[in-house]
Amino acid sequence: MERPAWAPPGIDISVPSVSRMYDFYLGGSHNFEVDREAARKAMEFLPGLPKIMQANRAFMRRAVRYAADNDVTQFLDIGSGIPTFGNVHEVARAADPAARVVYVDHDPVAVAHSRAVLDGVDGTGVVAADLRRPADILHSAEVRELLDFDRPVALLLIAVLHFLEDADRPYEAVAELLDALAPGSLLVLTHASYEGIPVDAERASGTVDVYRSTRSPLVMRTAEEIGRFFEGVETVEPGLVPMPHWRPDSPAEEEDPYAFSGYAGVGRKA
């Protein structure tokens, strides 16, 4: 049975959490043994997982700067996870001190931690909501208070859409969110894919199996499938590409081979 909207999810730290695993990959200690165990198991199949996460973070950083350079200084970061160094608001505010950022996650621990970290940081807010219910996000007090929907917003979906199964209607969710945003808004996303992973798909699927034990199974999609998220918006140069190829700061040859796993792209709403 589906959980009613008003009933909070149980806090079960005996189940691995993808946001705490992500923190582990990034060298943080905001995690528990169960998270580390799952992450280590996933790394048995893909030892370069941390490099994939790092590439995600680096892309996000470049994309946030791109947004700020294009006068988009409102950010809606869905699937923000455990705050770690190089957060969106840090990057955004380095470019424009007036930038506003709303972080959204459905993991109650990630939300509680975000609230603790962002306590007293003006212009930022945290929402406990699920990407599967875009209306909950759009109508939340924090979003209404902090974001001006008459002006463009950068919608960040970094490493989150691949946790939505097709039955969760991810395309409809993205469309519904974009629909609420003003022209000129940006869709910034990265997505896991078997394409580009420097090991064979069979081996990579071991990682997928590990994620099955979390509450957020991993759904690999092809470039074509990921491209469909940009329906209705225009992708900006260089389109949907492996993460290190998106407007790089440094030569791609310096990158770890794992960094090319999955895709990144930015679209602009006309």
Binding site: W6, P8, G10, I11, R20, H30, F32, R61, A112, D249
Partner: protein, 727 residues
């Protein structure tokens, strides 16, 4: 690690201490960047390393020598998010190999000294790094644990709120809520449910659901229950009665759902009960009222049709029972009502109802009142006509005893139509119609009897019935029209006038002749308005002929013959209506001839003849139609106000033969002679040949009609015939 080649030259412009420091940073950054998770670019990352390198460099040369800055450099690595211990190992390797090389200056310290210092700085750096990493790990562990705790307490608060809300819903719900385990033990009930069961909580909580059997439980109720507790069903919904503590019955709409635990194992059953006792009672009462006759208390038409529907429908597996139906209509009930009043009539009906009910008391039998004095007895306990005939006999017998009302002994008789047959062949409406028709047969056979249904009699009656019911609307819709058959003077063949013959253009059956519907119109009384319409039309038509052909001389104006039925003859407004019609049309009475059948005038007394006499005195011709078919009381002719005899076509038929039947000839001669002596004109019908016409002319008949001259047709045909005459 390999030592890069010694930088060329010494203390050149491009090789100052700052440049050397930057080169050291570049080497350091390249060594540890791959083991960091930073999202910074290499250049940005090196920007973080530069102050650390400066600390190390300064400490290497400082006097007095102090290792504390190296500790801070180690901690700085952690601050730059180099949390992978490999970053320390690689950093120490870089310091060991390059610090002295890039930062050492020959200002008093010997190479040995520098190497010793560098070693000690590495120790301090490792210490600083380890301390910082330990602090950071502790802090992060603590903060995530605190967040988990915060999230959990938020969830608990929410859960508590949820539970409070649930409790409020549970306690305040208008429906009864109960939770039981899978063995049926009731664990928890809300106040509403307790109240529904009579207010004693102990009666409900702690008892077992299996004790709550009620005799009126449908067979499926407990089957559904078993399926649910076995986990084969998630939910069911039934209407179920319970005994309350005081023995009264509680009726509920019951919804039971299976509650499973997190692993999906069945755990509890949740019952939601709505008290529908009142509603049910009301429903039953309304249902009773809707299905019973208020006067007699018998089932009414509605309930009867429900049962009849069931009785005449084959079972779900095609099994065919039989059914029997007795349709009773009291004889002469209207007279009782009219003479003794409705109150007596009603009491009579109540007594009849009681007697009827005593005749059909078994299961599968029912008596119902359809309305007025019509009752039915329906039975499914029959093996054939004999059984239902027996029931009809019992009914007649039950009615035979006199009924005492207000000291008056009333005798009741009834006519019964009996239908018996197998289910699955006829619709309820067909069965009831058959019973109705059959009842009328019993009634027309004199009443106080029953008749058995007969398909052929039904078929006849059904057509008759259909036409009868269609008659009134047919007049409204203008489905009748009139054809005219010319009447011709036999002596010169000129057109004398025409007989108006009414036709019915029936939407289904086509054009019907008067023999098909005039008797029905007679029975229903519709003959009066229909007859008046025919008279109006014919008179109007005659007048319009006259206006179109103002004939003068011997032929005189065109005339029209219109038939009068017996009922019209008796109608009190016959004379007034006729005068009115003539005056409105402006037709001379002498141009109208009313035809009356001989049989209608048999035994006619002066009262009946008076209107005819009045009409005759006004100048209207009265013709005696179909003369020779009835009793043909010649003596009677004298006192009738008749001016024309119409000889029936049976006489002329005899003259079609060759040779002509001499006896027929003599008779016609005699009648014509007699008529003429009484100053009656003679018209013959059915003239079909020239020979017939010649012979009738010889005999002395005055006028004739028949196919020889013209068939009945539209009014303009008469017009053209008249024109032909004139030529």
């Amino acid at each position: 690690m390999k030592v890069p080649s010694q930088p060329s030259g010494s203390a050149g412009e491009t090789d100052g201490p700052e440049d050397r420091l930057r080169r050291f940073v570049t080497i350091w950054g390249r060594a540890i960047f791959p083991v960091t998770a930073t999202s910074l670019t290499r250049a940005e990352f090196e920007g973080h390393l530069l102050p650390l390198a400066r600390l190390l460099c300064d400490a290497l040369l400082a006097r007095p020598f102090d290792t504390a800055p190296a500790q801070r450099a180690g901690a700085g690595l952690v601050d730059a998010h180099c949390t992978d211990p490999d970053a320390l190992g690689r950093s120490l390797g870089v310091v060991d190999s390059y610090l002295v090389l890039y930062c050492g200056r020959d200002d008093g310290l010997g190479g040995e000294d520098l190497r010793a210092r560098c070693a000690r700085l590495q120790h301090a750096m490792a210490t600083g790094y380890a301390q910082a990493l330990r602090e950071r790990t502790r802090a992060e562990q603590e903060s995530i644990a605190r967040s988990a705790l915060a999230a959990r307490s938020a969830a608990e608060i929410a859960l508590h709120a949820t539970e409070s809300r649930f409790r409020a819903v549970f306690d305040g719900a208008a429906i009864g809520i109960g939770i039981a385990d899978l063995d049926g033990r009731v664990l928890e009930v809300n106040n509403t449910l307790t109240r529904m069961f009579g207010g004693v909580e102990g009666h409900v909580r702690g008892s077992n659901i299996s004790e709550w059997v009620h005799p009126e439980d449908g067979p499926h109720v407990w089957r559904l229950y078993d399926e649910l507790v076995r986990g084969e069903r998630e939910q069911y919904r039934v209407e179920k009665p319970y005994y309350r503590g005081d023995g009264t019955v509680l009726w509920t709409n019951l919804t039971v759902s299976l509650l499973r635990d997190a692993e999906g194992e069945p755990q509890y059953q949740l019952a939601l009960m709505e008290d529908v006792t009142e509603r049910r009672l009301l429903h039953l009462r309304l249902r009773y009222e809707a299905t019973h006759d208020a006067l007699t208390g018998l089932p009414n038409r509605t309930l009867f049709f429900e049962r009849l529907e069931k009785a005449v429908t084959a079972g779900p597996n095609g099994e065919k029972g039989r059914f029997g139906l007795c349709y009773l209509d009291l004889d002469g009930f209207k007279a009782i009502n009219d003479s003794l009043g409705h109150s007596v009539g009603d009491r009579l009906l109540v007594e009849v109802a009681d007697r009827l009910q005593s005749c059909a008391t078994g299961p599968g039998e029912m008596v119902a009142r359809l309305g007025g004095d019509e009752f039915v007895a329906l039975t499914t306990r029959t093996d054939g006509e004999r059984d239902v005939a027996g029931l009809a006999d019992r009914i007649l017998a039950a009615l035979s005893g006199p009924i005492g009302i207000d000291g008056r002994e009333l005798t009741v008789r009834g006519s019964l139509g009996v239908v018996e047959g197998p289910a699955g062949e006829r619709t309820p409406a067909e069965v009831l119609r058959s019973a109705d028709i059959t009842m009328y047969r019993a009634k027309s056979a004199g009443g106080n009897r029953f008749e058995l249904a007969d398909p052929e009699a039904d078929a006849r009656a059904i057509t008759r019935h259909g036409l009868t019911t269609a008659l009134p609307t047919a007049l409204e819709r203008g489905e009748f029209f009139i054809e005219y058959q010319p009447l011709v003077h036999l002596d010169d063949g000129s057109v004398h006038g025409a007989e108006a013959l009414v036709r019915w253009s029936h939407p289904q059956h086509g054009v019907l002749g008067p023999d098909r519907f005039i008797p029905l119109a007679e029975d229903t009384g519709l003959i009066v308005p229909l007859g008046r319409w025919v008279l109006q039309e014919a008179v109007r038509q005659a007048r319009s002929w006259q206006l179109e052909n103002p004939r003068t001389g011997g032929a005189g104006p065109l005339r029209v013959n219109v038939n009068l039925s017996p009922t019209q003859l008796h109608h009190p407004r016959l004379v007034a209506d006729t005068v009115d019609v003539l005056e409105r049309a402006g037709l001379d009475p002498g141009a109208l001839c009313l035809e009356v059948t001989e049989s209608a005038l048999i035994g006619a007394d002066e009262d009946l003849l008076k209107p005819l006499r009045q009409l005759a005195e006004m100048g209207v011709d009265i013709a005696l139609d179909d003369f020779g078919t009835g009793y043909s009381n010649l003596a009677n002719l004298r006192r009738l106000p008749v001016s024309v005899l119409k000889l029936d076509r049976s006489f002329t038929r005899g003259m079609q033969q060759h040779p002509v039947d001499p006896v027929d000839l003599k008779i016609v001669e005699g009648i014509v002679s007699l008529a003429h002596s009484l100053e009656l004109a003679v018209t013959v019908e059915g003239v079909e040949t020239a020979a017939q016409a010649a012979r009738l002319r010889e005999i002395g008949c005055d006028t004739a009609q028949g196919w020889y001259y013209a068939r009945p047709g539209a009014p303009d045909r008469i017009h053209s015939l008249v024109l032909a005459d004139a030529v």
